[in-house]
Symmetry: C2
DNA sequence: TGAGCCTTTGCACAAATGTGCAACGGCAGC
DNA sequence: GCTGCCGTTGCACATTTGTGCAAAGGCTCA
């Protein structure tokens, strides 16, 4: 009889077996799908497990299976509206296919990030999803070299190994330009940040190119880290000059909110009469009555679904590797004049 | 010689040992703090580990130690500004003390939540932190019964077993009342939600009590789930009546933003001239120029630090059990008239 | 040079689980 | 009643790691 420390520690299958009067194998089989157990012993085992509060130890189980069931999510700025929504969507989907999410926050000092990443590899994560453009490429390489299944969201590193899920930033940015151009705007500013994230750069570039094709040149302002503050600051800089722009493409909704607030509060401008604004992401605040921001919706649900398909071993036809690209559809609200 | 599947699967300590020409014990000791290994073999081992891409398997390690290093965070609405900031703060702190966070999202259908919680118990999490008031009490009981170390944030269930970290909602709500009362407001509304979360209820009750002591009665409106939409709806309901309130205490900043937008956009009211508003949480949007909301700051950093202290085994004087309560300090902005 | 001590190393066992294989028991069919 | 088959069960071994214990080796001191 193994020692019973009541309340202390966790219960093992051995203890359940003893209480139920069966072998440990029977306990194991009871909790293994598709294993052969008679109905009577299964019942005895479940009853004993219930009274002892037994839960299968996944750590030990994962030693044998390849599948640990853990999916690691690496990202920075998870307190941001867009990222937190992405995190929300992915964790929910993962739970639905019996995976569990481990979150590595790369916002802190890089030392602890490195340690945390090693943690992840140590836990034999089933896959690693890189949520944002910020985590350093070296981290990602470490994952790949260790045989990790890596999924990149909105990155453009041309690494071969990871699967890429991207949003068609270029198409959306071109469409953004045409929205503003058709609204009659000719002095258009691009508001971006110093982050230099691949997707932000892609938006800047495509917008600039589309403007060039229409014979316009644009000025790009990068006033700080991506966020409300940088947008506000950009607004102060751009609108205090003599030739104010008549429109702005903000590569992020947060930037757009800051920019709009600067325009209205600091300069008393009217949006969209004097100034049209287009954002990107469609965060919740874009729909608030104070902003009613015209923007592009991140296909968060589609991205999360795709990740699920890549990871769900039960899926009849698992999505296969390489690249997946989703569209960001425009959301018309009130910050761009109708034609 | 053990089989070498190049690229496939993970590397084990056995393979490293063979490449380095030492015993597996030497490999194990190399990666164990305080174990006795000579400098020369340590170097050989580290070199071999580097070329093979070896990482210690924490799952196996956790079989032996009590300490799995995993901390489970259970919460709903993690896409909300307050919760995502809390999540951000906690995950960072956990990484700093060499723990890693597993996130269980209780927003989805309860089936998958239940499954995910079982997952957590299965992974022998070091502790379980309940982030919000929403996850059902039965989940928490399951954790406690299974011998889990449970930490509750802002809950008031009087369960004995878990440690409680709370914010002094009552004191803040009383202070909120006095702020509005001193500003001359007499017809004060309380805007809440149908969530019925312990902390929200505590704020409602304390505010009502403080008003009662001052000889005022307040009306409480609960227009839906906690969020911007419910605040907006509450604004529409309250302000369309004949005797409009001259102030509102919104138990959440999101409610406050919605309420303010309804007041300004739908009714053209001026805040704070005609209507004073006080919120709670001090989310980022409260500081945006469009709102400049006077509110109470959630002591997120203190809460996260306290969790760290509870969990850090290396801490010289670990914080001990029972209850911890932090203050929510007022943040004066522009939605309450100065006296 | 020998004795003693300390460091280092390897063996073997422990942790909790899944599973192949053989044995066992019951049931049906002849 | 016997034979054959099928479902069930237990044993033993596998997964990967940490660690106590004993042995070995090297170094120092007499």
């Amino acid at each position: 009889m193994s020692e019973l420390k009541p309340g202390r520690s966790f219960v093992s299958a051995q203890q359940v077996a003893e209480l139920a009067g069966v072998s440990r194998s029977a306990v194991s089989r009871t909790f293994t799908d598709g294993a052969s157990v008679s109905e009577t012993t299964r019942k005895k085992v479940l009853e004993a497990a219930e009274t002892l509060g037994y839960h299968v130890n996944h750590l030990a189980r994962s030693l044998i299976h390849e599948d640990s069931g853990i999916v690691c999510l690496i990202g920075a700025d998870i307190n941001t509206p867009y990222h937190s929504r992405l995190l929300d969507a992915i964790t929910r989907r993962l739970q639905a296919i019996n995976r569990v999410a481990m979150v590595i926050n790369t916002s802190g000092d890089s030392d602890s990030v490195d340690a945390a990443l090693r943690q992840t590899l140590n836990y034999r994560a089933n896959a690693t999803v890189v949520l944002s453009g910020t985590p350093p490429a070296s981290l990602i390489n470490t994952c790949i070299n260790s045989g990790q299944h890596v999924i990149l969201i909105n990155r453009d590193d041309h690494l071969d190994g990871p699967e890429n899920i991207t949003v068609d930033n270029a198409a959306a940015a071109r469409e953004a330009f045409h929205m503003l151009h058709r609204a009659g705007c000719r002095r258009i500013a691009v508001v971006s940040s110093q982050a230099g994230t691949p997707s932000l750069v892609a938006r800047e570039r495509a917008f600039e190119a589309a403007a060039g094709e229409a014979g316009l040149s644009v000025t790009i302002t990068r006033a700080g880290p991506t966020g409300y503050g940088a947008g506000f600051e950009a607004g102060r800089l751009l609108l205090s000059g003599s030739d104010r722009p008549d429109a702005a493409f903000c590569v992020t909704d947060l930037l757009a909110c800051g920019f709009m607030d600067a325009a209205r509060v600091e300069f008393g401008m009217n949006v969209p009469a004097e100034l049209c604004v287009v954002g990107f992401d469609d965060i919740e605040q874009a729909g608030w009555a104070s902003y009613q921001l015209t923007t592009f919706r991140q296909p968060i649900a589609q991205v999360a679904d795709h990740i699920t398909k890549l990871l769900d071993s039960d899926d009849p036809e698992p999505a296969q590797g390489g690249r997946a690209c989703f569209h960001a559809d425009p959301v018309w609200r009130r910050t761009v004049r109708p034609r």
